[in-house]
Amino acid sequence: MKKYMLGIIAFVLAISFSAFTTHQKARPGKTFTNYYEFDGSSNSGLYQTGDWVSLGTDLPSGCGGANVVCIVSASESTLGAFQSSISSAHPTSETELDNIDGVSIFSRKNP
């Protein structure tokens, strides 16, 4: 029994840790294909609708620069609808942005 003790402790700890880890909300399936890029310089300005640009439905190639949110994927199919969500939620941080229904952070600059 003694030789199993470390393994049992490891299993119990792993299951406990995973149960208490908060997960990002799940991405909906095939409707989740619109990408929007944030052109602002700081996450505190994520609510500024004019700094968001539509990238369409193709997989974005990437981004570089400061350590801010770069691209999000969202269920809204038009930039106007997406900007309206941003405007009403008024996000000023990555967490607030990610908490908006149908919006998920896809990539960050300098990950």
């Binding site: 199993y4 470390l6 490891a10 299993f11 299951i15 990002q24 991405r27 399936g29 990539s107």
Partner: protein
């Protein structure tokens, strides 16, 4: 000396059990997210559904191998193989697609690619050290882990 070696191997095995079980359960608990992120990978995106299932299942099987004294060495070999594959994947992502998020499970997803590479290299080394010590001692004293 032997007692310390047995303790070291059991500790390495326990660390891998903790790592693999934690990440496997985290992947299952957040499965749609994990599958989605994996699908964006330029390297494995085409096979993301199959890999999304195979990876956590493989990690749990490896944990069971590491748990049983008779299969501990096999578990360490599989761990070394898995960690080497993960490390190569991270090196590829770091070189060719650093803007993409990690499809890892649990809190490990919040590491950046460079931190993740160091983390994986550490665990790869740990698996290698465990195999080396296990082989060295089991040649002199077969089944020494079963005592």
């Amino acid at each position: 000396m032997n007692r310390n070696k047995i303790y070291f191997i059991n500790l390495v095995a326990a660390l891998f059990i903790l790592l693999f079980t934690y990440t496997a359960f985290s992947k299952f608990l957040d499965f749609r997210n994990f599958q989605y992120t994996l699908g964006k990978s330029p390297l494995v995106g085409r096979y993301h559904t199959m890999i999304a299932w195979a990876l956590p299942v493989g990690e749990l099987i490896t944990s069971v191998l590491l748990f049983m004294p008779r299969t501990k060495l096999a578990g360490l070999h599989v761990s070394l193989l898995l960690m080497s594959v993960f490390t190569l994947y991270i090196a590829y992502m770091l070189a060719f697609a650093p803007h993409l998020p990690c499809s890892c499970g649990g809190v490990i997803r919040w590491m950046n690619w460079k931190q993740h590479l160091v983390f994986n290299l550490f665990f790869t080394g740990l698996a290698g050290a465990g195999i080396y010590i296990h082989k060295n001692d089991s040649e002199r004293q077969p089944n020494f882990l079963l005592q």
